[in-house]
Symmetry: D3
Subunit: 125 residues, 6 copies
Amino acid sequence: MMSDAAARGAAVRREVLGPERADRPPEPFAVPFREWVLDAAWGQVWDRPGLDRRTRSCVTLAVLTALRCTDELEMHVEAALRNGVTPDEIAEVLLHTTVYAGAPAGNAAFAIASRVLSAQEGRPE
Amino acid sequence: MMSDAAARGAAVRREVLGPERADRPPEPFAVPFREWVLDAAWGQVWDRPGLDRRTRSCVTLAVLTALRCTDELEMHVEAALRNGVTPDEIAEVLLHTTVYAGAPAGNAAFAIASRVLSAQEGRPE
Amino acid sequence: MMSDAAARGAAVRREVLGPERADRPPEPFAVPFREWVLDAAWGQVWDRPGLDRRTRSCVTLAVLTALRCTDELEMHVEAALRNGVTPDEIAEVLLHTTVYAGAPAGNAAFAIASRVLSAQEGRPE
Amino acid sequence: MMSDAAARGAAVRREVLGPERADRPPEPFAVPFREWVLDAAWGQVWDRPGLDRRTRSCVTLAVLTALRCTDELEMHVEAALRNGVTPDEIAEVLLHTTVYAGAPAGNAAFAIASRVLSAQEGRPE
Amino acid sequence: MMSDAAARGAAVRREVLGPERADRPPEPFAVPFREWVLDAAWGQVWDRPGLDRRTRSCVTLAVLTALRCTDELEMHVEAALRNGVTPDEIAEVLLHTTVYAGAPAGNAAFAIASRVLSAQEGRPE
Amino acid sequence: MMSDAAARGAAVRREVLGPERADRPPEPFAVPFREWVLDAAWGQVWDRPGLDRRTRSCVTLAVLTALRCTDELEMHVEAALRNGVTPDEIAEVLLHTTVYAGAPAGNAAFAIASRVLSAQEGRPE
């Protein structure tokens, strides 16, 4: 049974990552990780009231770029758009992060975000 | 002679870091680094119009926390306050970053920010 | 009010870090971090039954060494001793980690662990 | 000619990584790296008596997860199984590491380990 | 309009990365990043007289290996050859870096450099 | 008894780090680390003929800066001077690394190197 925090987290995660991604069940092996993430990351942190989702997305993009988490970045560029960060603002966040994390971190992040944004433009509304 | 970008950068840096810190001359050995930072970081990035300084401060705190740049963090907690990020919002940025960068990164950042905020409270206005 | 996981976590943390360290209240600014750590780290992870505390300590030392979290390492060398890892096994964990994380990471970790172990020897039993 | 340590290391490596992987010759360009690894990593560290292979595997998984060495992780999930770490214990090591290294590091490691474990289940015994 | 530093940087970049790679236009989204890199990285740093390009290439390979920037490494192994670093010297730089950054960082770098060097040998002169 | 590689490594280390630093005995707890470093780092890598010590020092400074190993950096700025890298070239290596590793990594490295160079100037010859 899910904890309260995990249940709240599951709802926030679905809004931020979108139903298509959020509704995929985890691999059986990864179930303990998914439960922890729903509770500790989405329920206990993303759901807190003190910072708007737009700023949370900017912060997330910055950290993922700095730590070179390229797999997660794709998902969180989409999430940032969903949370109201414009493509131009995403570019500013990535360029700002480049100064602090170095050119290769920025280069990789711009490549991924370019791909996500091109794919989005091709989609029917 | 300073480039245009470096001159603009020096002004932004002084506003963000405060005159006390900004007006200290660099060590002679570090002059090439200072010049590069004024131009490439402060002039060409912090001075860009597409993202407000408050969000730039949140992004900076997130990256410095994630990369464990504890020395720089002190300076940028002060800068964040100067740019209008409240102490509660700083705590949210650090907690949000903790999820993505791990508990020790968060622990170190909260310790530094606690120290800066206590020192600020003690100051005459 | 503390969640169930946080209450369980507080008990585990006190056993692992020792009462002297565990009973220090956090800085007011760091209270949200402490709450998250008690719940998400100590309650939801350290308290899980599937891995003994001795192995959890070895894993923790390895990660802190690899990520160069030197502040936390001191505390977790003490915790490892409390969890039954011998000084010789701590040395093996740090040397093993050195291969994967590089000589400077190992050097810093050995310096900290040497200091902790010397201090422990000087203590009355 | 191989040093004594490298010869001992080659034997340990073959036991831990399995003959299929261990017997592939390195690219000619990578020969100096292979020789160093056999001697310095496998001969001088993995072969030391003070820590059992099961714990060495847990430590290795933790470091590779924390440093986001996703390529090496696949090989060392297989090695951990060979060294007697159960799939449930691997999940505990990865979840424990997530607390210290952040959710994206954990996410990537769980994805890789899930793939390795599914592939293993499909194999004839 | 390009700054002077960016114009100088574009010329250096073309010499170091080769025309085939340098003349590909960036994705529209990545234009601000490209402009920053030409000015801040290639114009203001690579173009400085105080260090020869051969040593700059060795330093670049070392940093990219240590930070696990595998995407950039391919491009900079080619650049190192163009700047007069021999394949044997590249191997020495990567092995030296391995000591400080750990075996997995070295392993990944040797794999990429092996691929680049094999591909180069197959090319008509 | 020391391996041949460790004995060669001890001699190289003494030349590069200077007798004052090299002749300090390690803490008893850190003896296995010291032995590994003499053999695997100094004997098997620094002693290899294929790359001059001047370039090895540049590579070492770059990696330590990128990985934020500030403790080791002090020792290796001194070593670089001993290996014939001039202060101006050290500045170039650190600035070059800044582009790839980010401004805070560069800032910390310039601060340490400034301190070492000022201390050296004050010494009697």
